[in-house]
Amino acid sequence: MQGGSSGIGYGLKYQARCISDVKADTDHTSFITGTLSLREENEVHLIRLSSGGTELICEGLFSHPNEIWDLASCPFDQRIFSTVFSTGESYGAAIWQIPELYGQLNSPQLERIASLDAHVGKINRVLWWPSGRHDKLISIDDENLFLWTLDCSKKAAQVQSKQSSGMLHYLSGGAWDPHDINAVATTCESSVQFWDLRTMKKTNAIEHAHIHNANYDMKKNHILVTAEDESGIHIWDTRKPKSPIQELPGHTHWTWAVTCNPEYDGLILSAGTDSTVNLWMAPTSIEDEAISESIAESPAQQADPLLNSYSDYEDSVYGLAWSSREPWIFASLSYDGRVVVESIKPFLSRK
């Protein structure tokens, strides 16, 4: 099953959807992932890339009570992460702490710091502010947006404010603006909505159908990348919500996840249900905008924005994460539970 891939593989026992970069771990390139199995014992894996970069080592293996639909690592404490889980009938979300390991692998009890149990509907995402230490958390369920205050030492989370998304808007996910601690984008069936967390009011919206996933550019303010069912990937300037800055073809089937490189400008990674991960190079700066527009008029000369397509997957790819420590490395997770870590170094030089 290894195939001729350049990537480093790691197998989970069960199916899985989500993987997250452990951003707070500054000494190692680590990822955390959790399985999605309805009837089996689910697990959380803490994976570390060996120092040579040739092997993925399981640094910790913890049992998790339910199947994990979403998982996010705390950006300022490597031992803390959040999960959204389902028992099959109901949903829940919690903040967990990895116990001190001291070398031994088999102490697999996660410590639950807090339960985000104010939700009633189907919880979709828990968001941390991506740019640093912030004691707030956002959780998104089908209809509501919650802002939590998390106190790790007291092991408690309290609802600070709550806002309903309004009728007929079933929220599916969201992204927290890394440049603005008070701005959050949520995705729903027909649009992307922008919220101001101070007032919990909607500030703006991009009307666009079937958005699966949205991601802010870490380097540039106001740039948001979205992934859709059929129409691929769009890059938006949030100040101009009428039409996208750029459009990328996306995937043969749905484009499920999209993420911007934390370091290199315009590098975008997308994962799709056609079992591929695509690496894109999109000129997003303002001066490039004009060029790309003029290029669009003469598509004959248009440079292919697709740098590479990683197609060595057996199933749909749902999980995708850049390493923030080594930004040329990303981890992808296909539904069959395979984590593949790839390096994009060969494509960087080509820029």
Partner: protein, 779 residues
């Protein structure tokens, strides 16, 4: 012998030198530049030092040489002595001859004085006599002169008194030249004495002159007079101090008026040539108009030449006037070109203009009208080419849109096919017509066009290049607009949406047609009759690059095809999303029948298939295709596996589901779900089905089912199997995908116990019966 000659010459030369040095005013000037006294040659110079010479000689020479030198020197001294004697003698000689000459001069002068005195006396007497004659005749001459003056004066007075009658006579005889001459002659007198003695006379003659002026003016303006006469009249008027400038302006105005007439006639010609599209009736009137127009232009040219003769200084104004005419001509032409005209009509107009220009050029070559009109014609032609392509583009999009509209009204079965055919025809025929049209421009031998030939070729090539780019943009616009309106229409305008989706398909096929048929034809045609050009410069290459256009349309075709498939799958996606997000799957009730979304799904596919059938060609024979492809082994294997799995699945699927699927995947080759789309009915339908099933699988994966929910999915999928396989090319992939859906459902099921096969069978049979009942014709 030589040695004898040389000293002789030397001797004579030295003598001459000595003589001349003697007589020369400044003896030092003859001196040679002082030479080095250290040599033996220095003997002849002024700076000669005998002692030094001696020393040098003794030092340098042996005895024999010294002796020889001594002999030589003695000879030389002797020579010099004789020379000296001769010089003295000759000098003396010359002195004697000079004295002789002076003596002779003195004797000659002695007798002259007496003769001179005699001459003086005679002259004196002649003078006194002539003085006497002069004084005696003086008085008479004085009187004669006085009489003569009086006579002249009287004659002048007579002339002035006669002037009015004389002028009358001149007017009668139309001898205006004489009249003017007389009048101008009398002018100074009138000016001096007009107010006193000659008052009556002056008035009478002024009246006469007024008549003359009037007549002259009339002559100037009457076109019937010869040019010469009119020119004369102008000159005369000018002599009479008549304000000629105002006359000039007037005449110019008249010319301008006639210019207005010309303009009208041009319009007539255009109308005529428009009419001449109706072959017979138009032609007659056309030619009539042309001759009429030519006549008036000729008249205009004559008027101009006359004017030029009359007012030679007015060239600039005339040039401006004539250029105005040409500019106006081309303005109307440009207006005309904006409309929809054939090149033949344009040529007709151009030819008329060109003849006009030539006519006018004959009379006024300074206006460089040919060059001027060449430039204007260049612009007009360029516009013509551009507008022709514009209209072609318009035609094509009209052809596309018209069919869209008409099929909206009456949803015929073959409307899309009609649309495709019509637009194909519009593209191919249209561009061929355009080429043919431009060929006429090239074939014509009108000088104007011949000069612009290279430009025309380039414009046509460029025109095609731009045209196809514009067409491509238009295609994208048409399909893009659909994609935006699709969201507006949503589910409400299902019918309109169908037409638009069809249009995208038509566009896709049209792109292929353009790439494969139209471009090669046009390339051929251009190579045949539009080669050359090169006004652009060869380094740029030819303006029309079929390779680029082909590439554009190939990619456009693919994009549009994908767009079509996307539009189709998107509709199904919406359907599926509704189906899977609405019910609570965890509390699903036991399946009683196949869910109705299956019907909707199949109906969508049928619609799509009917569209596809109209537009796209059938692929290769199916069996052939399958056995040929690489995927054959994989498909057979996965088929077999599926059968295995199905038999087993009924008994023990519930356990170790995950392990089984993983193992199955290990042994199964990866079935290529997402293959390249071909321009065939089967390929497009298959791709649509595959994408829809993949979506179905993804939707299932997002839900959690109870046992009944799972069984419902199982039932629906089982039912889908047969009709899908009938429509689809790649059975293996579809089978695989259907299995995947069931697997996904079982994975997401809390209690995955499948339906017993008999129940499954019975439910499917029931559905089939119901289905056949509803639409008995369909397979």
């Amino acid at each position: 012998m030589e040695t004898d000659d040389v000293p002789l010459d030397d001797k004579a030369k030295r003598m001459r030198d000595l003589l001349s040095s003697f007589y020369a005013p400044d003896p030092s000037s003859t001196d040679n530049a002082p030479s080095n006294p250290g040599t033996l040659d220095a003997i002849n110079t002024t700076s000669f030092d005998a002692d030094q010479y001696m020393n040098l000689l003794i030092q340098k020479s042996n005895l024999e040489a010294l002796l020889q030198r001594h002999v030589e020197m003695a000879a030389e001294i002797k020579n010099i002595d004789t020379d000296l004697q001769m010089l003295v003698y000759e000098n003396y000689n010359k002195f004697i001859s000079a004295t002789d000459a002076i003596k002779r001069m003195k004797t000659n002068i002695v007798g002259m004085e007496a003769n001179m005195e005699q001459l003086l006396d005679k002259i004196m007497s002649v003078q006194s006599k002539s003085d006497g004659v002069n004084t005696s005749l003086f008085e008479k001459r004085e009187r004669v002169e006085k009489l003569h003056r009086t006579r002249n004066l009287l004659r002048k007075v007579q002339f002035i008194y006669d002037l009015p009658t004389r002028l009358e006579k001149c007017i009668e005889a139309e001898a205006y030249v004489d009249a003017v001459k007389f009048y101008t002659g009398a002018m100074p007198i009138f000016k001096a004495y007009g107010d006193s003695s000659f008052q009556d006379c002056k008035q009478a003659s002024e009246e006469a002159i007024a008549v003359i002026v009037k007549n002259l003016q009339g002559k100037l303006f009457s076109d019937s007079e010869s040019i010469q006469a009119r020119a004369e009249a102008a000159v005369l008027l000018k002599q009479l101090d008549f304000p000629v400038d105002s006359l000039q302006v007037k005449l110019l105005e008249k010319l301008e008026q006639s210019l207005g007439d010309l303009q009208l006639k041009t319009n007539d010609i255009e109308n005529a040539s428009m009419e001449s599209n109706d072959p017979k009736q138009g032609k007659v009137s056309d030619s009539v108009h042309i001759t009429a127009h030519e006549g008036s232009v000729r008249g205009f040219a004559e008027a101009i030449s006359a004017y030029r003769v009359i007012f030679p200084e007015s060239e600039e104004q005339l040039i401006k006037l004539v250029q105005d005419v040409v500019v106006k001509h081309f303005e109307t032409t440009e207006q005309y070109v904006k409309g929809r005209i054939s090149s033949a009509n344009l040529m007709c107009v151009l030819r008329t203009i060109w003849t006009d220009v030539l006519l006018m050029d004959e009379v006024l070559s300074e206006a460089v009208l040919p060059v001027f009109s060449l430039e204007a014609a260049q612009i007009a032609l360029k516009q013509h080419v551009a507008s022709t392509f514009n209209y072609l583009l318009q035609d094509i999009s009209d052809a596309l849109l018209r069919v869209t509209v008409s099929s909206k009204e009456a949803a015929e079965e073959h409307s899309l096919q009609v649309a495709l055919e019509a637009s194909k025809k519009a593209v191919l025929q249209g561009s061929m017509d355009v080429l043919l049209d431009f060929r006429q421009l090239l074939d014509d031998d009108l000088q104007l066009l011949v000069q612009l030939r290279d430009f025309i070729i380039d414009w046509v090539q460029e025109g095609f290049q731009d045209f196809f780019r514009a067409l491509y943009d238009r295609f994208l616009l048409l399909s893009g607009r659909n994609s935006s309106s699709r969201q507006d229409q949503g589910l409400t305008g299902a019918h309109g949406e169908k037409v638009l989706a069809g249009l995208v398909l038509v566009l896709a096929q049209l792109s292929v047609f353009i790439e494969q048929t139209v471009i090669p034809r046009i390339t051929e045609e251009i190579a045949a009759s539009f080669s050359g050009g090169g006004a652009r410069g060869y380094e740029n290459g030819p303006a029309f690059v079929p390779g680029v256009i082909c590439r554009i349309f190939r990619s456009a075709g693919e994009r549009l095809l994908h767009h079509y498939i996307n539009m189709r799958t998107q509709k199904v996606s919406t359907l599926l999303r509704k189906r899977f997000t609405t019910p609570n799957w965890v509390k699903h009730k036991e399946p009683r029948e196949v869910h109705m979304f299956v019907d909707l799904f199949l109906q969508e596919l049928k619609e799509s298939a009917s569209e596809v059938k109209q537009i796209l060609p059938q692929g290769l024979a199916r069996k052939h295709w399958r056995s040929d492809s690489n995927g054959s082994t994989a498909s057979s294997r996965s088929n077999q596996l599926r059968d295995d799995k199905m038999t087993r699945s009924n008994t023990q699927r519930a356990r170790s589901q995950l392990l089984e699927t993983h193992l199955a995947k290990l042994f199964k080759q990866k079935v290529e779900i997402f293959t390249k789309v071909e321009y065939t009915q089967e390929s497009v339908v298959t791709t649509t089905v595959k994408l829809c099933l993949k979506s179905l699988q993804e939707f299932v994966r997002l839900q959690t089912f109870n046992r009944s929910g799972f069984q419902q999915i199982q039932l629906d999928i089982q039912f889908l199997r047969t009709p899908l396989k009938e429509t689809v090319e790649d059975e293996a992939a579809v089978d695989f995908l259907l299995d995947e859906v069931i697997v996904a459902a079982s994975e997401r099921c809390l209690d995955p116990i499948p339906l017993e096969p008999p129940i499954l069978d019975r439910l499917i049979q029931a559905k089939l019966a119901k289905w056949k009942e509803q639409n008995p014709i369909s397979p």
